[in-house]
Amino acid sequence: MLEATDLHKTYVLPHKRVDVLKGASLSVGKGERVAIVGRSGSGKSTLLHVLGGLDRPEVGEVRIDGQPLYAVSQRARTAVRASKIGFVFQSYHLLPEMDVTENVMLPAMTGALKITRAQMRQRALVLLEQVGLADRATHMPLELSGGEQQRVALARALINEPALILADEPTGNLDRMTGAQIMELLFGLSCSRDLALVMVTHSPETAALCDRVMELAGGMLAAQT
């Protein structure tokens, strides 16, 4: 499903060169759940951005379902991202001007699915039902709690029926109990839809729930024992 080989990424800061990724490779199968752990600043988020086609590596390639991400034009990469990858962020990133349903519909509005606005709405309402927020469909994001906002973000990540979910510390801003609920929901949805999941986390408990745990250290990925 996801094949990342020999990824190198360097940031050039004033008077400093930071090699974040130094040949990191990762392979994730369909429906497989992989946790990425590592110390703060080890480059976990950068790796996730590279895997999601947001940040071009200097060396290496990422393939989604065999399709290369960086050997194609930006437009093609954007289209792959819209149709095959769902993102979940630590800070939810909901648009405050739009209600919950519209936020969930957002990725579908890229045109990746070629469905009507009514069909998008219908699909968003089904997803909101699945994440337990059917009664909040017309609410504005700021009227929701952190946990509820992350559920909306989960529903949003799923609307285009992606094959891969990239989650960047999805429980980082939530309390332990709410975080556990979100993880349960994320794992449940991943299982029921046979979704590949790559999740950056600091929590050993959350990481332990995954099929595999990879540690990013020194710019390289290694399976954690």
Binding site: H49, G52, L54, D55, R75, T78, A79, R81, A82, S83, F87, F89, Q90, S91, H93, L95, P96, E97, M98, E102, L106, P107, M109, T110, G111, A112, R117, M140, R156, N160
Partner: protein, 408 residues
Amino acid sequence: MPFSLFLALKYLKPKRSFTSVVTLISVIGVVLGVAIIIIVRAVMTGFGDMWHEKILDFKPHITVTAPSGGVIEKEEAVCQRLEQVPGVLAASPGLETRVLVEHHRRVVAPLIIGTDPKRAKRVMKLDRMAAGEFNIEGDSVVLGVDMADELGVMVGDNILVYSPMNLVAKNEVYLPERLKVTGIYDSGQRDFDSGFIITSIAVARDLMGMRSGVYSIHLKVQDPQNTAKFKKIVSDVRMLVPFYTVRTWQEIDSQLFNALAVEKNMMVILLMFITVVAIFCVTNTLIVLTVQKTDEIGLLKALGFSSRQVMIAFVLHGWIQCLIGTLLGIGAAYLILENLQGLVSLLARMGVEVFPKDVYGLAQIPWRVIPREVADVAISVILFCTVASFLPAWRAARMDPVTALRKE
């Protein structure tokens, strides 16, 4: 609805108070800019119309004169021939000269116009008589309301008119003509009401020591402001009387009309700068918005929206503000123009004389909206706005999603 338009409309929604206040101020800037340009253009057009109307009512549309200060003989026949030209409504002979007028030891020096009593009424539109009637038969004279005030003359009084020939004739003495005031006209134009007296051609000839002939033939034509038609009439008249000099009303008062046109254009150019400043408010709003929405822009790009979609959304956001501002500006301009007199009166009551009557001589402020000019303003503003929206929109579109998302 395309996503870009959907997002642009969402950003306009006054739910997020900060954005909406900034947006509101930008829109008000455009409203004021557009409204002021339309109002000024309408009032300037109104003033131009007023001048045209007054000049065209009082003065001839075409003046035919003999070359080199000569005299036109057999004026009745010339008038009849000229009236055959299609579009010429009336022709009237004229004999004009500067005279001295005295009444109760008060003296003024107006231009006397000697004309045919019957034909004059068809060429000069002097239907606004302040007193008496337009009667220049025999030793009668009609003068303007301001001159009547200056001389202290009323209908029925006699005035003495001294010929200028006394200054040039060495062996002859021209006795002053005693003329009876039969009417006092009020053209509403101080120049006309204080500078002219009208009498019969016979009286004018006596004053000039002439036995026959006139200095000019005055023509009234149909639709003198229709350039194409008017040109044709002038050309026909020139062909009919090739030995005479033919001058149009625009040529005679060209300085005034040129001054009005230059003034109007200058005002529009200067006011356009104000509108450009207002449009920069919109650019400013968009820049604030792009900074404020940095993480959202990053998210949109991460979700798979193209740079083009993001750019169009921001351009549309600015464009919609301008469109709303322009439409409201046009509405506000009409509203103000419809109530202009009331507003000016209100200001006058508060001690602010916007158009002092004794300076402008106007009972009402004239205005006329030319739809094409309104369309010009609207199109220019929206065009400027679109261009001004591009810079912040381009900035938003080229934002790196990773950098934007990190600004949490």
